[in-house]
C-alpha cells in the first residue's frame, strides 16, 4: 500500500542537543498513529520536519512522494501546533474562513467544520472571548477544513475536558474512516484512551516502539498483580502457597508474569473456601508507557 507519510533514518541535531536519531516511521492512508514521548523527546521536532519548517541533518521524508514543504506536499497536509494565539478581535468563523481561503477550500465548508468541533454557537463571537478548550477546538477546525490527507496534530487534546476529548477521538475516527491519516502527539498512553491504531514512542530522539497497543502491552512483559481476599484463619495458608505480601491481615497480593496467569488462577480456585475474592489487575497503560519511555536508570530509580 502506498504510504501517505514515509520517513526513514531522520536525524536532527540542535547544536549539542540530539533531538532526533534515526527515526523511521510510515503511515498509511486512514491510519491513526499516536506519537508519544517525554518532554523534549523530539515529537514537535519530527512534526516540524515533516512540515518542511526544519531541515533534517540526515534521512528522507516523503509526503505521498513529495518533498516536505513543497507546494504539492502542503496541499495534502494540515497542522495544529502546540500553541497558537489567533487574532483576538476576529471571530471563529472569520479565522476558519481565512485558512479555508489559503487552502483553496470553498466557503461553504467553513460552518460544517465549525460544527464538527462544536463551535457553531460561538462562531460569531471574537475568539479573544473563547475558553482555552474552545481555542484549542478552533485550532482543530483550522486544521480540519478542506479534508487534508495527512493531519499533523501536536498535543491536540491539551485543555479539552473529558467530554470534548471523547468527541475529539470520535471525530478522529470519522476522519480516518474517510481516508485521512492522522499523526498526533501526546504525553501518555492513558490520555489516548486506546483510540489510535498504532502507538509510536520516542525516547531521547529515538523511536523505541512502533506497534498497535496490544502488542506493546505484550512486549513490555509487565507482571500482572493478583490480590486474594481470604479469611483471617486461612490467610497464612494462602500466603505460604503463593508468597507475595500480606495486606490488612486477610489479603495476599503477589505478581506473576503474563504466561503464568492462568496456572495461578486455577491454583487459586483449588483453594476453595479459603478464598473469598480474587482481583486481577493487568498493567495500566501508564505503566506500559513508562516502561518504554523511561530510560533504564530512571526505571530503577522510580521503583
Amino acid at each position: 500500500m502506498k504510504m501517505i507519510l514515509d520517513t526513514s533514518g531522520v536525524s536532527k541535531n540542535f547544536k549539542s542537543v540530539e533531538a532526533l536519531r534515526d527515526v523511521s516511521i510510515s503511515i498509511a492512508p486512514g491510519e491513526r498513529v499516536a506519537l508519544l514521548g517525554h518532554n523534549g523527546a523530539g515529537k514537535t521536532t519530527l512534526l516540524r520536519i515533516v512540515l518542511g519548517f526544519l531541515r533534517m541533518d540526515e534521512g528522507t521524508v516523503e509526503i505521498n512522494g513529495h518533498a516536505p514543504g513543497s507546494a504539492a506536499a502542503r496541499r495534502l497536509v494540515s497542522y495544529l501546533p502546540e500553541s497558537v494565539a489567533f487574532p483576538k478581535m476576529l471571530t471563529g468563523r472569520e479565522i476558519v474562513s481565512y485558512y479555508a481561503k489559503l487552502k483553496g477550500v470553498a466557503k461553504d465548508e467553513v460552518m460544517p467544520t465549525l460544527e464538527k468541533v462544536d463551535l457553531v454557537d460561538a462562531a460569531d463571537r471574537r475568539c479573544g472571548t473563547y475558553s482555552k478548550g474552545m481555542r484549542q477546538r478552533l485550532g482543530l477546525a483550522q486544521a480540519l477544513v478542506g479534508q487534508p490527507q495527512l493531519l499533523l496534530l501536536d498535543e491536540p487534546t491539551t485543555g479539552l475536558d473529558p467530554v470534548s476529548r471523547q468527541r475529539f477521538y470520535t471525530l478522529l475516527s470519522d476522519i480516518a474512516d474517510k481516508g485521512t491519516a492522522v499523526l498526533l502527539s501526546s504525553h501518555g498512553l492513558s490520555e489516548l484512551e486506546a483510540k489510535t491504531d498504532r502507538v509510536a514512542i520516542l525516547r531521547d530522539g529515538r523511536l523505541v516502539a512502533d506497534a498497535p497497543l496490544p502488542e506493546l502491552q505484550l512486549a513490555a512483559k509487565l507482571p500482572i498483580r493478583i490480590r486474594i481476599q481470604s479469611t483471617t484463619e486461612d490467610v497464612e495458608q494462602v500466603h505460604n502457597r503463593f508468597g507475595g505480601k500480606r495486606i490488612n491481615g486477610a489479603a495476599v497480593e503477589f505478581v506473576c508474569a503474563q504466561p503464568e496467569k492462568m496456572e495461578r488462577l486455577s491454583a487459586i480456585s483449588e483453594l476453595g473456601g479459603a478464598v473469598t475474592d480474587v482481583d486481577v489487575s493487568s498493567p495500566s497503560l501508564d505503566e506500559v508507557y513508562r516502561y518504554f519511555s523511561l530510560r533504564d536508570e530512571q526505571k530503577g530509580a522510580d521503583k
Binding site: L51, F53, V84, F86, M89, L90, K101, L102, Q142
Partner: protein, 275 residues
C-alpha cells in the same frame, strides 16, 4: 494571487477590528487640523493658494508621522506571527512566502491609505471650505500630498518588514522599528544640518548634500512636495535642491526605490525564517 488577496483582506480586517484604522485616522486628522487652523490665519503677505500653504506644512508633518505609523503597523508582521505561532499555520498552507509578504504589504498599505485619506482628506476639506483664497490648485496639491504620503508609508511598511523578519521577538522588532524611525527622520536631518552649518559654501553643501537628501526617502518626499507646490508658496527647504543633478520631480522615485528594496530584502530574509 488569490492567496495574496486573502492575506491582504485578513490584515485589513484585523486593522479595522482592532481600531488601528480609527486611531491612525484620528491622530493624522488632529495634527492636520491643527496645521489647517494655523495656516489659515490671515497672513496677507503671500498670494499663494490658502490650501497650498497648508499642504506645505502638512508635508513636513507627514515626514514625521507617516513613517512612525507605518513602522508601528509593520514591525509585528513577521516576528509577532512567529511569537504567536500563526506563521506556522499560514506556511503550512500552500502559499509561498513571497505571497505572504505581498499580501501583508497590500493589507497594511490599504489600512494606512484609509487613515491618510480620512485624516488629511477631512482636514483638507475643512481648510478648503473655511479657508481664504482657496482654489482648485490647492485641491490638486492636497491630492498629490495624500498620494505621495501613502507611497512614503508603503516605503516604511516595507522597511518595517525587514526589521520584523530579522528578529524572532516582537519586542526586539519594536525597538528596531523605533531606531529606524529615529535615524531616518530625526538624526539623519540633524546630521545633514550640522554638516551644512559647519561649512555652508563648501564642496559638501554643493555636491554631496543633494545626493544625501535624495538618499533618504523621507527627505526626498519632502523635497518633491515642496518644490512641486505652486511657486508662490515660500518654502525653506527648496533652496537646498539647487545643486541637484536631476529634476526635483524625480525625487519621488527615492521612496519607491526604497520600497522595492525593502520588500526584496525582507522576502529574502523571510525565506530563511523558521516559523
Amino acid at each position: 494571487m488569490r492567496s495574496v488577496l486573502a492575506i491582504a483582506q485578513y490584515e485589513i480586517q484585523i486593522g479595522v477590528r482592532n481600531r488601528w484604522v480609527v486611531l491612525a485616522s484620528v491622530i493624522l486628522f488632529v495634527f492636520a487640523l491643527l496645521l489647517v487652523l494655523l495656516g489659515s490665519a490671515p497672513s496677507g503677505a503671500t498670494k499663494a493658494d490658502g490650501l497650498s500653504v497648508v499642504v506645505a506644512s502638512l508635508s513636513t508633518l507627514t515626514v514625521y508621522l507617516v513613517p512612525l505609523i507605518a513602522l508601528l503597523l509593520s514591525y509585528d508582521a513577521i516576528a509577532g506571527e512567529i511569537d504567536r505561532g500563526t506563521l506556522q499555520l499560514t506556511l503550512a498552507c500552500p502559499v509561498s512566502r513571497g505571497e505572504v509578504l505581498l499580501g501583508k504589504f497590500l493589507g497594511h498599505l490599504v489600512v494606512l491609505a484609509i487613515a491618510i485619506l480620512i485624516g488629511y482628506g477631512v482636514a483638507g476639506a475643512i481648510g478648503f471650505y473655511f479657508g481664504e483664497n482657496t482654489d482648485t490648485t490647492g485641491l490638486v496639491d492636497l491630492g498629490r500630498l495624500i498620494a505621495t504620503s501613502i507611497a512614503l508609508g508603503g516605503t516604511f511598511i516595507a522597511i518595517g518588514y525587514v526589521a520584523s523578519a530579522s528578529v524572532r521577538q516582537t519586542g526586539t522588532a519594536a525597538a528596531l522599528a523605533v531606531a529606524i524611525w529615529l535615524f531616518a527622520v530625526v538624526l539623519y536631518d540633524l546630521a545633514l544640518l550640522g554638516a551644512l552649518l559647519v561649512n555652508p559654501e563648501g564642496a559638501f553643501a554643493k555636491t554631496i548634500f543633494p545626493y544625501l537628501l535624495l538618499a533618504n526617502p523621507a527627505d526626498a518626499f519632502r523635497l518633491f512636495n515642496l518644490t512641486t507646490l505652486d511657486a508662490g508658496v515660500p518654502t525653506g527647504l527648496a533652496a537646498g535642491s539647487s545643486g541637484l543633478p536631476i529634476s526635483t520631480h524625480l525625487a519621488i522615485l527615492s521612496p519607491f526605490i526604497w520600497m522595492i528594496a525593502g520588500l526584496a530584502v525582507s522576502s529574502l530574509i523571510l525565506r530563511r525564517v523558521q516559523p
